[in-house]
């Protein structure tokens, strides 16, 4: 779920993103309440609607050892009532007022959101503020929601024949690092969770000074400030729990996972390089974002032209680099081999194509790539709901508003020599993992 959203966000950011010179990305404003709540307002007056989001800067990585799935189960229980808004009232009130309300949990953060008519915004704010401090988890609701979360894992993860591969691959890549664990928790962990585990997570992290409030839509900054004060201003902050610590990843690691699975009929290959996120190295992150676009994003990229069109070894190939992580980020390349092409042969061809692409980096090529990335940024001013997701993702991993707004400038500032150096460093110095998923013989 989360991955899909992230993919969409980055497609929006880097494929559709198009531009006008030195304009800010969103023309957003930000302020802090005295209890530490960070508020970002993205005005968009096209239609009388708004997206209201609260992002907690804690996700599944911050769970206690052995308590996998507690962050996600808590996310579900947040819809199950407070002292003043008991049981199903939260959903009932929002539905009667035409809101689309939902939430998601990821590795690094957890977010709650409502899309509503602007005239109903205060209702969402009152409800969200209420459940930030007054959550009431009954044993009955807890037992039911744990069953539902188990069914969710069965539907979303276990029913997908490729999941054993993706979950093993994650574990191989991240080892002792908390990114190794599934956001949902394993089936066994979910069944073992207790009410107190979830309650403790809530007490540790659901505090205003660990949250970002996003208001994106038909609202001005003055009104937003007044309303944020009114509904969230009186919430007292709680002592924050200790967040995940991220172990160092050894740079000389190289590992491969090859798997055959029932019901898999077509092979796929993937490889991943663990590298710095924006938070760890901002300039490097932009160098690699530009490099990824040049190397493997879209049908005009180097890998597509070489391996799909010229050599006809792959049916599709793409690279991706998402730098919005609290810990490290991953630069990845994924491909579907053409009929009769062995994964090893395609992997060798990818190595050659990558080496050639890095070697061919030139001023012209990188300027052209940057132009593509910049040309569509104006579309981001269109949809207030998408804007909220993008701003929220960046803010939740600790980017300042200035950094978010400077996206275009950061791209503009990228120099081709630095892209080349960053790419070389990526391939020479990062831990690298390779995955091959194949049909079981005779399974086709």
């Amino acid at each position: 779920m989360r991955n899909v959203l992230k993919t969409i966000i980055f497609v929006v950011l880097f494929v559709f993103c198009i531009s006008s010179a030195n304009a800010k990305l969103f023309d957003a404003s930000e302020f802090y309440l005295s209890n530490g709540l960070r508020v970002i307002v993205v005005p968009n007056h096209k239609a009388p609607i708004v997206k209201h989001m609260v992002w907690y800067m804690a996700g599944s990585v911050d769970e206690e050892a052995g308590k996998g799935g507690s962050a996600h189960l808590l996310e579900h229980l947040m819809f199950r009532g407070t002292k003043d808004v008991p049981e199903q009232s939260f959903n009932n009130i929002l539905e009667q007022n035409g809101a689309d309300s939902n939430a998601f949990t990821s590795l690094d953060y957890t977010a709650y959101h409502q899309k509503l008519d602007i005239s109903k915004l205060e209702l969402a704010m009152a409800l969200e503020a209420d459940r930030m401090q007054n959550l009431d988890i009954s044993p009955e609701a807890f037992a039911l929601e744990r069953d539902i979360v188990f069914q969710e894992r069965m539907q979303v993860v276990e029913n997908n024949p490729a999941s054993p591969f993706s979950e093993s691959y994650r574990r191989l890549m991240w080892g002792e690092h908390p990114y190794a664990r599934p956001v949902s928790g394993t089936s066994e962990e979910i069944k073992k969770l207790g009410l107190e585990d979830v309650r403790r997570y809530y007490e540790r992290f659901y505090s205003p000074d660990n949250a970002v409030l996003i208001l994106s839509g038909d609202i001005d900054v003055q009104t937003a400030r007044k309303l944020a004060e009114k509904y969230y201003g009186r919430i007292e902050k709680r002592p924050l729990g200790v967040k995940a610590s991220f172990p160092q990843i050894k740079s000389d690691v190289k590992a491969e996972l090859k798997m055959t699975l029932p019901h898999i009929n077509a092979g796929r290959i993937t490889r991943s390089y663990i590298t710095s996120s924006y938070r760890e190295n901002p300039a490097q992150a932009y160098n690699l974002a530009v490099f990824s676009r040049y190397l493997g994003e879209g049908d005009t990229s180097e890998l597509y032209k070489e391996l799909v069109l010229n050599k006809k070894l792959a049916l599709s190939i793409s690279s991706g680099f998402d730098y919005t992580n609290r810990s490290h980020s991953v630069f990845s390349i994924s491909a579907m081999p053409a009929e009769g092409v062995a994964p090893e042969a395609l992997n060798r061809a990818i190595d050659e194509a990558v080496a050639r692409a890095v070697n061919d980096i030139s001023l012209d090529r990188i300027e052209k790539t940057k132009r593509k990335m910049l040309s569509g940024l104006v579309y981001l001013k269109d949809n207030p709901f998408e804007a909220a997701d993008i701003v929220g993702t960046m803010a939740a991993v600790g980017m300042s508003l200035e950094e978010i707004e400077n996206h275009a400038d950061m791209i503009r500032r990228v120099k081709y020599k630095n892209v080349k150096a960053a790419a070389k460093k990526l391939f020479e110095e990062s831990p690298v993992f390779s995955g091959v998923l194949l049909p079981q013989t005779g399974d086709k």
């Binding site: 198009i18 239609a47 003043d84 005239s119 069953d147 069914q151 539907q155 029913n159 579309y379």
Partner: protein, 467 residues
């Protein structure tokens, strides 16, 4: 006297004090409660942000030269323009019986170059100027879209015109498309939900074109030639079956010229395969597909109504109450919120041109599956027999009316809506009148529709998993 008075005064004071304490004991919890009790109406009444109407004037534009029509909402907030268009009856169901899947292949290959630009050159130009052009073969219609900045609009229109009039359809790209199709057929058998989708269409519709595999037929696709594709474009993508919706930074006068420029190159009319109304048997027939899965998945269907049917709005409200989006539907409350048997259970109105249906789906681990199926049947039957309460109908109407503006979040959504308004003949004033159509629906309307359509004997089921 004095003493007495004092005495009586003491008693009086005592009584007053007692009464005062009583009053405090009586009122305090109420004051306390009213201080904290969550009162949605009070919040809305004191809200500083009031209701506004979305100013969305729709104009019909007719192009000066060819008389091509389009609905337009001019919106100059951002310098961008979005266009959605469809060719009626050029979708998958109309593919020739020996070319099943051709519409999908054409949709993919239209972006693979024109006579004057190869695929890479075309895509470079689009990416460089942030022009988005896309095509897709639906069940009934063939759809397309264009998004551009005002600055690059002339290039965008010229590219779309070139794509529609001089598609390249080179052997190299056709071969790649065939290999990808081959691969897609393999992957289609991987996820149980995808297997179920293919099997459900076949089980529901049999030999009717709606029963075809959405990817088409593998052998038919492998036989396709360049001429077949050119023929498809010539005969199916014509001005006579074209519908266009546009939103964004463009004036009606300009749009008229643009319509001629882009679509003037198309044939005036062509031919397509007539798809008959589907005749579906609903007698609780059931198909179980055995497979080891994490969960069993069920798809169910019942007769529905077309968009133009007088029962559309009553059934629309009824379906929202029984199985609509969110966690408050009867199905979701009964199976998920109260019993914890499933993560998702829902129903929806499926509006295919030749077979409107009520459809739905649910899934659970195999131990829960029989109980879950029982809940669906029970709720379906009870809803048909007893209908909804006044409160439920009001709640559903409130949701449908209040959430209406959410769909105006992007100009691409607007362009889509404008296109569908024409396809379904909803009228130029639809955006202004739609909410009144919902408000007018009574509990009686809803319950008549519920009694007619929610009948357990008129259902069918396709399931996959372990039984």
């Amino acid at each position: 006297m004095y003493r007495r008075r004092r005495k009586s005064s003491g008693l009086f004071k005592y009584l007053v004090l007692l009464a005062f304490i009583g009053l405090i004991i009586y009122i305090a919890p109420q004051i306390y409660a009213s201080r904290f009790k969550f009162n949605p109406q009070q919040i809305l009444d004191h809200s500083v942000l009031k209701e506004k109407t979305f100013d969305s004037k729709v104009i019909e534009v007719v192009s000066p030269k060819n008389g091509i029509k389009a609905y337009l909402i001019e919106d100059n907030t951002n310098p961008i323009i979005s266009m959605s268009f469809l060719f009626k009856n050029a979708g998958r169901a109309s593919d020739d019986a020996d070319k099943r899947g051709i519409s999908d292949i054409v949709a993919a290959l239209l972006l693979e170059g024109t006579d004057s630009m190869d695929a890479t050159a075309l895509k470079e130009e689009m990416e460089d100027r942030a022009i988005g052009i896309g095509f897709s073969a639906g069940l009934d219609d063939f759809t397309g879209s264009l998004i551009t900045t005002s600055e690059n609009q002339e290039t965008a229109y010229a590219l779309l015109r070139d794509i529609l009039s001089n598609p390249r359809f080179a052997d190299k790209e056709l071969e790649l498309a065939k290999q990808r199709a081959d691969n897609a057929f393999l992957r289609q058998k991987e996820h149980p939900a995808s297997v179920l989708g293919v099997e459900a269409a076949r089980f529901i519709y049999g030999s009717h074109p709606y029963g075809r595999n959405p990817l088409g037929d593998r052998d038919d696709i492998m036989r396709l030639k360049r001429d077949d594709l050119l023929d498809f474009v010539r005969s199916r993508l014509t001005r006579n079956n074209l519908i266009v919706g546009v939103a964004g930074d463009i004036s009606p006068e300009k749009l008229g010229l643009v319509l001629d420029e882009i679509f003037g190159v198309l044939q005036k009319s062509g031919s397509t395969n007539f798809v008959r109304q589907a005749d579906v048997t609903f007698n609780r027939r059931t198909k179980n597909i055995s497979r080891r899965t994490g969960q069993n998945i069920s798809v169910f269907a019942a007769p529905g109504v077309a968009r133009s049917d007088k029962n559309f709005y009553p059934l629309f409200v009824a379906n929202h109450i029984l199985g609509g989006s969110g966690l408050n539907s009867r199905l979701s409350v009964a199976a998920r919120e109260k019993e914890g048997l499933t993560y998702s259970i829902y129903s929806y109105m499926s509006l295919a041109d030749k077979s409107p249906l009520l459809q739905g789906s649910f899934s659970s681990t195999k131990e829960n599956f029989a109980e879950l199926t029982g809940i669906l049947n029970r709720e379906w039957q009870r809803f048909g027999a007893e209908g909804a309460t006044e409160e439920e109908v009001e709640k559903a109407k409130n949701y449908l009316v209040s959430s209406y503006n959410l769909r105006f979040s992007s100009i691409s959504n607007l362009a889509d809506i404008l296109m569908y308004m024409q396809k379904e003949n909803l009228g130029l004033d639809f955006l202004q009148t739609r909410n009144d159509k919902i408000r007018k629906i009574t509990k009686d309307d809803v319950n008549k529709a519920a009694a007619k359509y929610f009948r357990p004997e008129n259902m069918l089921f396709v399931n996959i998993g372990e039984f």
